[in-house]
């Protein structure tokens, strides 16, 4: 059975229904405005300051409201929904602690450029600034981690603000926008006239179309290059530019690496794809970046996990950076050819101008050589379960077609390495902020966006315990997420660092006292399964796939496994620890 989303009427139908101007409350304006923005579901948690809003929602069925068990669950779910669907995710929380519980999720979305509209209640305008009960200056607190924010002081501004918020969140470099609504504003009455007015923000004009002269420079650089390399990131997926990227690679035959957030932007089976770059990237990607004479960054931000030590990053390369956010260009890496624009638009303009660079044959041969000599590898075992093997099994049994969300840590890197993504928006992970607790709620959001698809949430035993209460949501809404727990009874990534960098001083990483995850699942009314060897693993997983509703499958894996390759801090990315496999 799949998650149920009520059928949403078209905005035209809704507009017709509300065409007659009507005096209604701020709360009703909010609900109608959300519908006019095409919102299908919101994730939230009520409380004192949003009670007028929740009162207006009583019996309201035009969009689905998912009551999570923690505000952090709500915002990560909205985030997962947004990443999986490409639409704006919406969540609602009350003032004070409700709002502050959203902070981690807002920062997560901000770092990964995820479009969210975050609605918080606040105390009545007359009480603002008095340290009133459950008051927090949430616009102040979240200013550094939102694309923009609003504190609504007059109910008359509400329709415009909501419309602007959706526009800002979903255009340019996408990101979270916060709307803080004081309680009296949500109760106040005003005349509401649904309008389709275009947003007019003088200080906000994202540049979509690139400078033609810069494009010409890139075309020339591609012709001149002997060892060109593409570094593609999440911007490709966010702009919907994956097909244009495929065409670009087809025409130029330039090898391509995709960042953690760029996984799925390019088919992993393609000969020219070299895997992920950076700290836990492939040998091939890292060597290719370092050896390249032209590095074309398409919608990635040269994160330090990708570049390693900047002194010595791509030392021979002419750097091209294509990004919709001008501030990303030159931020970390000096750029020779800056191209500001929407990735899809840029690539579509570029494609007719470029063709295969014939002189790069030797380079492509070198790439293939690296690929065959140094693939991802691990020492398999017949006695204990290896986490990499588990991911490979998930990949095989689902033919790489599931939506995979992860938590943060070793399992996340193994999933990135061993699951093979072929389509965009199939891989949902907290990249920039590295937020533990993200895995389960983001999967709930992704499943809401795609009720018909298989959604797998891959978690560690650590992160699973940061939002495990959201199992309840899976059970009561019958959200058929398959929740995988890679249990090594330890904070694995921390353990790995302590082993390799802190001389085996294993400080406070033992997760002794974790619950019996099967019983935990059952306590919430979710089916729970456990596997400790390959045979059990295959059986449990097959059973999970056959079970219609949500299932937790715990894979008890070997404890001391490390993620390789690894670039330790301070090293350049060609200085990789390759492990002993």
């Amino acid at each position: 059975m799949s998650a149920q989303i009520p059928e949403v009427r078209s905005t035209e139908q809704l507009r017709e229904k509300w065409m007659k101007p009507e005096v209604i409350t701020g709360s009703e304006i909010l609900l109608r405005s959300l519908l006019l923005e095409g919102v299908e579901c919101v994730f939230g948690y009520p409380g004192g300051a949003v009670l007028y809003i929740y009162d207006a929602m009583y019996g309201f069925e035009d969009f689905k409201h998912v009551l999570t068990r923690h505000e952090q669950g709500a915002i990560h779910a909205a985030d997962g929904y947004a990443r999986a669907s490409g639409k704006v995710g919406v969540c609602i929380a009350t003032s004070g602690p409700g709002a502050t519980n959203l902070v981690t999720g807002i920062a997560t979305a901000y770092m990964d450029s995820v479009p969210l509209v975050v609605i918080t209640g606040n105390v009545a305008t007359s009480l603002i600034g008095t340290d009133a009960f459950q008051e927090a200056d949430i616009t102040g607190i979240t200013m550094p981690i939102t694309k923009h924010s609003y504190l609504v002081r007059d109910v008359k501004d509400l329709p415009r603000i909501i419309h602007e918020a959706f526009h800002i969140a979903s255009t340019g470099r996408k990101g979270p926008v916060l709307i803080d609504i004081p309680k009296d504003v949500s109760a106040a009455l005003t005349l509401f006239e649904p309008s389709s007015n275009a947003v007019n923000l003088r200080g906000y004009n994202p540049r979509m179309v690139p400078n033609k002269l810069q494009l010409d420079k890139l075309v020339q650089a591609i012709q001149d290059a002997e060892r060109p390399m593409i570094l593609a990131g999440g911007g490709v997926i966010y702009s919907g530019g994956h097909e244009a990227l495929y065409e670009f690679v087809k025409r130029t035959e330039i090898p391509i690496t995709t960042t953690l957030l760029g996984l799925g932007a390019f088919p992993s089976g393609h000969e020219l794809w070299t895997g992920m770059p950076g700290m836990h990237g492939t040998y091939t990607s890292n060597m290719a970046i370092q050896e390249s004479d032209l590095l074309i960054n398409i919608g990635a931000r040269f994160d330090d996990r990708v570049t390693g030590n900047l002194n010595g990053f791509a030392p021979h390369a002419k750097i091209v950076h294509i990004d919709i956010d001008p501030a990303e260009i030159g931020k970390n890496v000096p750029t020779d050819i800056p191209i500001v624009g929407d990735v899809k638009t840029v690539l579509e303009m570029l494609n007719p101008e470029v063709s295969r660079a014939d002189q790069a044959d030797a380079w492509r041969a070198q790439i293939q050589k690296w690929k065959s000599e140094q693939p991802y590898r691990y020492q398999d075992s017949d006695t204990v379960l290896k986490p990499q093997w588990v991911i490979e099994m998930l990949n095989e049994t689902t033919k790489g077609e599931a939506i995979v969300t992860t938590d943060v840590g070793q399992h996340q890197m193994w999933a990135a390495q061993y699951y093979k993504f072929n389509q965009p928006r199939s891989w949902i992970t907290s990249g920039g902020l590295g937020t533990m607790g993200f895995g389960l709620p983001s999967a709930i959001g992704a499943q809401m966006a795609h009720p018909e698809r298989l959604v797998i949430s891959v978690n560690g035993d650590g992160g699973m315990q940061m939002c495990s209460q959201e199992l309840a949501i899976c059970a009561i809404n019958n959200i058929p997420v398959k929740i995988v727990i890679i249990n090594n009874q330890v904070l694995g990534m921390v353990r790995q660092w302590q082993e390799l960098i802190y001389d085996n001083r294993y400080s406070h990483i033992d997760l002794e006292g974790s619950p019996d995850f099967v019983k935990l699942a059952e306590a919430y009314g979710v089916k729970g399964l456990r596997a400790t060897n390959k045979e059990e693993a295959r059986q449990a997983w097959a059973e999970a796939l056959e079970t219609p509703g949500p299932v937790v499958v715990e894979f008890v894996v070997s404890k001391g496994e490390n993620v390789y390759p690894m670039v330790t801090q301070g090293s350049t990315i060609d200085q990789m620890l390759l492990g002993d496999a």
Partner: protein, 161 residues
Amino acid sequence: MSTRHTIAVLVNDQPGVLQRVSGLFGRRGFNIESITVGQSEETGLSRMVIVTVGDEQTLEQIEKQLYKLIDVIKVINLSSNPMVARELALIKVNAEPSERPEIMGVVETFRAAVVDIGSHNLMVQVVGDTTKIDAMIELLKPYGIRELSRTGVTAMIRGNV
């Protein structure tokens, strides 16, 4: 090479806009030497003038990051042009009657003004560029400065720009 830059930022006159701008400087590790804000020529818009120290790359990042704020309309690097930069300072300096003629001499030389006289002190108002005010303060220090308040720099490009 780190140098001093004066930047004018035209912003929407919204609550919290100063916090947005100054917060951006803080969290990205940009330096603020002085920041002033007041009305601009257009209703609904304020003009901030920020003096900062950094190299060319930092300056470029400051401009780009400022443009990311929705309430920022325009960023102008004033110090890349011939500009007029002024700040105002009020200086309350110890001044026994016997010392007053001497202090008045300093004040007149700097084309400053005495704007208040107490029984043991004077309040001096001085307008000028930062170095002039620094010099004035240096000269008044020996008398004992009781209180000092500087506005920070406001500035404009010369001519028809």
